[in-house]
Every structure is written in C-alpha cells, then in structure tokens.
C-alpha cells in the first residue's frame, strides 16, 4: 500500500484555503503523527485522505490510483477514519453489533461481520463480558476503544485518527497507542492527528507539521523535533532547562523515560 498526496488544497469557502498546496507520501507499516495548532488544517487533511472531502486542487493516490478513479463508497473501507470523540457515533443495542456495523456495510454476511467485530474487539483489548452490553454503559475509555474497533473491524489498509487520545488519561492513551502499535506490526499504516507535541513525540515514527494550512515540516520524528521552529514537547522543554544549567544532554529528548535515562547516564559519569 502506498498513499501519495500531491499539491492538495482545500477550501470550505471560495477564496479561503483551509489547506494549501500540501504534498507528502506515506509508506506502509509506519506510524505518522500530524501536528499543528487549532485551525491548521489537520482534520481537513484527514477527511481528504478518507475521501469524505474532494480536494479543490491537487490529487491523492492510493497504490498509484487516483482517488477519483476509486469508487467513493469503497474508499472508507481502505482508508478508515476514526473521528474525534468517536464514542458519539455509537448507536447499536450492543457493543458487538455496533462494531459489526462497518463490516456489514462492506458487504460481509452477518456471521462474517460478527467474526470481524470479535477480532477487532480482541485487538482493542475490550473484555468479552462487555461485548453484549449496551455501548452506552461502557466507561469513557472503553467507549473510545469500542468506536476504534468499529473502524478496525472493516480491516482498512490505512487507519487515520483524529485526536484519538483527547480527554484520556495516560493509561487510556497508552492503551490506545499500544493497539495502534499492534496494528502497525500487522502491516497497517497509521496516521494520527494530535495538537499535543508530547503525544506525537512519544508515539509517532514520522511527523508532519501543519501551520495555517501549509506543510511546515516533514520527516523522521527526531529530525523534525530537532528543528527550532517546531513546537517543543514537555520532556525537551525540561531538558533544555537542564542544559541551561550547564549539564550536557543530547537533543531532542522525546519522552520522559528517555530524559530520565539520559540524566542517569550523566550521574553515572
């Protein structure tokens, strides 16, 4: 699978571009993090990748086939989109039926759809005793995982996620991202959007930085976070304060664990 975005622009209103001349390509089996401030065009980009929106300028290719030549109704099954606060899309009487909604729309038989749903629920780590419960009786984090399973069950090659960790505690975040890591190992491509540099630095392998609708930086996570124009993550902020005190630490520091390891190394020396 290869996804390529070529000089894509998108306008909600004439004359105002939410996304302007964005180009990049995505390799299979990699986790991409898209970051940028509110209104930078992150969510718009995801909706373009999923085919919900059509670019006003430029083209998007999936395996060298242009999006316009792929049947619009089949695109969501190949590039699955998980919306921000996806728990608000749950509607069925049980978790398993809700997760099976996507596969059923894909044309799978009822039995097959249930099987797909079960597999997805195992992937997201939702315990079996919750499967037949109403999705509205789950906790916040569980609802989020059930909604994620709803898209995973469609078995898309690319998974794009909008602020999937918003409002979750560290444990909840780690759970979600460990699911994404698992999917990556299965060969899926993950693209997640986050306004938090901490999440992107921690979980992404490659990073795209958007600013006012334009692609400001793109590259391997360490390379991008080395750039002075990219917003700093919390661990790097602390590290730079330590550096100011005359203690030599490598740059950039991506996670708190990395920071503590480096400090231990300095103490050992």
């Amino acid at each position: 699978m290869k996804l390529r975005v070529e000089s894509v622009s998108y306008s909600y209103r004439k004359g105002v571009e939410a996304l302007s001349d964005v180009s990049f390509s995505v390799e299979q089996g990699t986790i991409y993090g898209i970051m940028g401030e509110t209104g930078s065009g992150k969510s718009t980009l995801l909706k373009l990748l999923n085919g919900l929106y059509t670019p006003t300028k430029g083209k998007i290719f999936l395996d060298d086939r242009e999006y316009s030549s792929i049947t619009k109704s089949t695109l969501p099954f190949r590039v699955g989109l998980v919306f921000q606060y996806p728990e608000s899309q749950l509607f069925e009487e049980s978790v398993i039926l809700d997760v099976a909604f996507g596969p059923k729309n894909k044309g799978r038989s009822k039995e097959e759809a249930i099987m797909d749903a079960e597999k997805a629920l195992v992937t997201v780590g939702l315990k079996k005793d919750k499967w037949n419960k109403s999705p509205f009786n789950l906790s916040g984090g569980e609802k989020r995982r059930a909604a994620l399973a709803g898209v995973i069950a469609m078995n898309p090659e690319v998974l794009v996620l909008d602020e999937i960790a918003a409002g979750l505690d560290k444990e909840g975040k780690d759970r979600i991202f460990s699911v994404l890591e698992k999917l990556k190992k299965e060969g899926k491509t993950i693209i997640f959007v986050s306004h938090s540099p901490d999440d992107v630095a921690r979980y992404a392998e490659r990073v795209l930085v958007l600013n006012k609708g334009k692609l400001k930086a793109e590259g391997e996570v360490r390379e991008v976070f080395s750039s002075p124009s990219v917003p700093k993550n919390q661990s790097e902020v602390i590290a730079s304060e330590i550096r100011e005190k005359g203690i030599n630490l490598p740059s950039p520091i991506l996670t708190l664990e990395e920071l503590s390891d480096e400090i231990v190394k300095v103490i050992d020396k």
């Binding site: 999923n50 899309q89 729309n105």
Partner: protein, 251 residues
C-alpha cells in the same frame, strides 16, 4: 441538506424588520399565519403573497437564503400536497392555496428568526405573555425553554453533520436505496443525536443550577420599548387579518 437549516438562525442585518420590537414581530407572525389560513379567494392569495414579498424586501434578506430555509421542509410540503391531491382535492386552485399556506408560514417564521435574536424572541414572549402570570402560569420558564430550544437548533444541526460524516466513514449509505433502506439508514444518526441532545441538556441544566438559576427574581438585560414603527407594524398586521376575514366572509 442538514447543514442548510436556517430556522432558528439569526442573520446580522440592518433592514426595517430588525428595528421592530420583538413583540410586534411575534404578534405580526401570529396574525399573518392566521391570515394565511383564513383567505379563500385569489385576491387573498395575492395579498398575502405581496405582503410577504414586501416584508422580505424590508428585511433585506436575499430570496435565495429564504429558499434555502425551505429545503429541510421541502419533502413534508411535497408529501402534504400529494396527500391533498390524492384525498379528493380535485380543485387545483385549492391545492395551490394549501401549498402557499405551508410555504408562507415557513417563510414568515424564518423571517422572524432571521431578523430577531433568540434572546429577543424569548424576552418578547415573556413580556408579551406576562399577563398570564396572574393565573400563576410560568411565563418566564416557558420563555427560557423556547429560547434554549432555538439555541439548540444550530448546535444539533452541526452535531448531526458530524455524526453523518462518522457513519459514512463506516460505509453507511445514508439516504440511499429504497424507502425502507432510507428509513433504516436514519437510525445510526438519530440515536447518537438524541443521546448527545440529552447529554447536552443535562449538562446545561446542571450548569444553570450551579449558577443559581431560578433562585431569585430576574431582571431584564435590555428594556423593551415600542416605537412609532411598531404602531405601523400592528396596524398593517391587523389590517391584513381584517382583509382576509372580509375575503373569506364577503367575497
């Protein structure tokens, strides 16, 4: 289509209708809708149509925007019209009159909400119905409920747009196929929307409680006062209804 709902939306403007007191507009709307259902002849039809066109001109709201407001109720109107024809309404003029009655009522209601802020509508209602408080009718609560309902319309339409996009991403074919399929495809939208509406209203009620809503007598932010233009407004509305009664009883 869901994002085209204009009912309950206020549009910034400087037309004459914006200057009218909300009570005048509310009473005017009531009298106009009654007039619409009273007229019987072509003269009445023409007069109510011309009256609306003049009001539209006075509001300076584009006709295209008004037509947009008709989109969400288009199928209801179409269905009612077809039913009218099927149920033995062979006289096409009567069908046309019924059609105009429905469209006119939607247009006029849209004109009210487009030119009046929700707060002004609720204040107008409260003041206009204040005489009912003598019989301990909860006028203020009613006005608050109506004003909140208006505020929820754009919020819920936006939310509906989001849910539709989310279900489309799961391959849901919304509004496609036969009538039964179309009806079925609405469920994945309606249920999350209802739940979100209940959650929002619950949160709103708690937020209002936490700010001690209803704990004391409330004062009005902006005092309402009639001006000369309101007298004309009332006169024209009453005259309109009087003419329609003559149209029905005499002509």
């Amino acid at each position: 289509m869901i994002r085209d709902v204009t009912l309950g939306r206020f549009l910034e403007g400087d037309g004459v209708l914006y200057k009218l007191d909300p009570r005048t507009k509310l009473m005017g709307l009531l009298l106009y809708i009654v007039s619409l259902f009273v007229f019987k002849t072509w003269l009445g039809f023409t007069l109510t149509l011309v009256f609306f066109l003049v009001l539209r001109k006075l509001s300076k709201i584009s006709f295209r925007y008004m037509l947009k407001g008709l989109k969400p109720v288009f199928f209801i109107i179409l269905f009612a019209t077809i039913l009218n024809v099927i149920l033995g309404q062979s006289d096409w003029t009567k069908t046309l009159f019924t059609l105009w009655r429905m469209i006119g009522a939607v247009f006029a209601s849209n004109l009210l909400t487009l030119t009046t802020r929700p707060r002004e509508i609720s204040d107008g209602l409260e003041k206009g119905l204040s005489f009912l408080s003598i019989i301990h009718f909860p006028v203020h609560e009613l006005a608050t409920i109506i004003s909140l309902a208006f505020r929820f319309i754009p919020i819920l339409t936006e939310e509906a747009g989001r849910v539709i996009d989310a279900q489309k991403s799961r391959g849901s074919k919304i509004g496609e196929g036969k009538i039964v399929d179309k009806a079925k495809s609405i469920m994945p939208i309606i249920i999350p929307l209802f739940i979100s509406a209940f959650r929002r209203s619950d949160e709103l009620a708690l937020a209002m409680d936490s700010r001690l809503y209803g704990s004391g007598k409330r004062s009005v932010w902006k005092k309402m006062e009639y001006s000369k233009i309101d007298i004309y407004g009332y006169m024209v509305s009453v005259l309109m209804l009087a003419l329609m009664i003559i149209d029905r009883c005499v002509l």
